[in-house]
Symmetry: none
Subunit: 204 residues, 4 copies
Amino acid sequence: MIQAGRGRPSGRTSVGETRREEVVKVAYRLIAERGFEGFRTRQVADEAGINVATLHYYFPTKEALVQGVVDYVLASLSSTSPTDEEAPTAAEALRFEFDDFNRRLRESPEQFTVMTEISSRASRDPAIAAILARMGVAWHAHLSGILARGVKEGVFRANIDVDQTARAIMMQIRGLGYQFKPGDDTLSPLVNLLADQILTWLAA
Amino acid sequence: MIQAGRGRPSGRTSVGETRREEVVKVAYRLIAERGFEGFRTRQVADEAGINVATLHYYFPTKEALVQGVVDYVLASLSSTSPTDEEAPTAAEALRFEFDDFNRRLRESPEQFTVMTEISSRASRDPAIAAILARMGVAWHAHLSGILARGVKEGVFRANIDVDQTARAIMMQIRGLGYQFKPGDDTLSPLVNLLADQILTWLAA
Amino acid sequence: MIQAGRGRPSGRTSVGETRREEVVKVAYRLIAERGFEGFRTRQVADEAGINVATLHYYFPTKEALVQGVVDYVLASLSSTSPTDEEAPTAAEALRFEFDDFNRRLRESPEQFTVMTEISSRASRDPAIAAILARMGVAWHAHLSGILARGVKEGVFRANIDVDQTARAIMMQIRGLGYQFKPGDDTLSPLVNLLADQILTWLAA
Amino acid sequence: MIQAGRGRPSGRTSVGETRREEVVKVAYRLIAERGFEGFRTRQVADEAGINVATLHYYFPTKEALVQGVVDYVLASLSSTSPTDEEAPTAAEALRFEFDDFNRRLRESPEQFTVMTEISSRASRDPAIAAILARMGVAWHAHLSGILARGVKEGVFRANIDVDQTARAIMMQIRGLGYQFKPGDDTLSPLVNLLADQILTWLAA
DNA sequence: GATGAATGAGCATTCATTCAT
DNA sequence: AATGAATGAATGCTCATTCAT
């Protein structure tokens, strides 16, 4: 099979693409470890086993590398819960949100550290703010859907403000996420307590 | 009277003490505006109207200046309204916690921005982590007291885990605080909603 | 037929030779636009539609590329109008030098910009200095010839120092060239004035 | 005598001012030696015996340092010829321009090298272009004055275009300057020849 | 107490050049 | 003949900190 032109080889990702991903992963790890404040391109290059100039070959600026990490995190954050929509009841669908949080907490806790860094950066970086805002809108729609369904099904109180409640739930989940610290295993039970609290309140 | 501090001039508020405070206030404002990432000693000195070398006379290292800011913030954070303890019922005492949050939100919103920065720094700075931990313990005792009193008074369910619930409430309040952004006025209603939610759950 | 050059492919203009010329033309244009200070091999490659590595295949070093441009400019500079020698009188032959200057100014003004850059580089690059010196000698001989002819014909004063006068005329013409700036159309009348001045002085 | 406030000591120039000048002089020399193309802040610092950071203490950017050099050169260029205006005749005043050129050529030939660099930079740096333009206007006024005086006194032809002639003389003098090269001692006689040429033409 | 001057270590970025394919 | 990937060696600039006065 002959490859013409300057396109990347089709089959597996090209060397460059692989290298890009490696670099992003190293950057992701270092941001998780040291935050943006101590995040240095030189260290990324060193730990990726490449030259600083090579790093800049893949990511022309530090900003671009950060964007790469943001994209990477958000991609793995969006790849959620295919079973979510299929939950039999709205209450179960809602509880699934919290279970998902706990699953992430178990499987890739650094995600939370990095997300905290990213969202704190959003106040100073409009590009990141925009991405987070877009994600927020999607999540809000998702939760609103669950709540509305619950009200229609009669499992949630009829007099809740769907919009505002969705916003509150997001805030509470995000708030917990921001408080995760590496090695912390006390968060998971609190998430369950939070789920109880919210479901109780919705059913009241 | 012996001063165990960091070698500051002793006795009553000298000129130096005043100058120190001024510098801390400028630093506090700049951290609120630019976060730790963009926090520069030079700018603190400039805006305080002194020389960088003079700044280093009062605070030998940047670290020490940050500590000064942390002390300053936590001092104003601990000065909670004295009426708290005097609340007639435990439920009111608890609701007071949320009212207090809203009051702070109204009166000195930068406090939240700075606290967010400080607590994100705690993961990398043991000194700050220790201070926050100490504060956390105090707050937890305070909330546990209210909850225990509520249970005793019969206004809260008897089957709650006081310790864990106090922890959960702290987490939720802190979580909201971390999500404050300058100019954001949508947080206050959510705090009220959160208060309702928790009180409902406690009473259930 | 042996090629004494810099290792280029021999024989008639091959594909490589064409590509080489294209590259030189792009380089020429970029030097005219940005001067040597902002002259980048990467940009040459980009605008020539080839890879940097390919550029280095044709020109092993930046130096070599600059040499290519120098050769290109001097070649087009040496291709003076053949009518020069056939001028009926020495005075007309001399005036023709200035007319030629004006013609270049009209037809390819970038030539002046590039020549200015090249000659300023000569002070630091012996190879370029040598080429310019060679060209200078040829031009001096040419002008001396015209002057000597004018003296013999009696149209120029007999007491001029032919050698020195030729040098002076060269200096004056070159001096004007160095002061050309893109878009400047005030130079041409000054060249005419200069021609008058010199011819008046020679005839005096 | 007591010095209050933050002003510099009045008597001799302060340490900082002296250091600034030293730095400018080193920069001036290096530009003369290597041109702008090879002009490096690090080398300036090294040869001035200071740290790069110290260099940036005095000149926040490379641009600012270059401006410093430009100011320095133009200051020494403006400090001309107090006897100029007092020349008995316009012809002598004009000839004085050329003598002045020769004097500079003898006393500080690097001036020409640096000026050539500066004026070549003018095409890309509006700030420098503006300064040169201002200088050009002043010089043009000066030369026009001499020419007008010469016409009034009857030593120059009445039918010259004063404005255009002044411009031509400037061009010719500048043109010679641009062609100076370190160690070149053949320029001076040519300047005299040029002076003869122009005066002859003006008197014709 | 206060400052102007100075510095070491480091930072993101650039650029001509090289090499394996 | 051509290229994607890689690199060494700079380059201008920054920043917390120090020191002599």
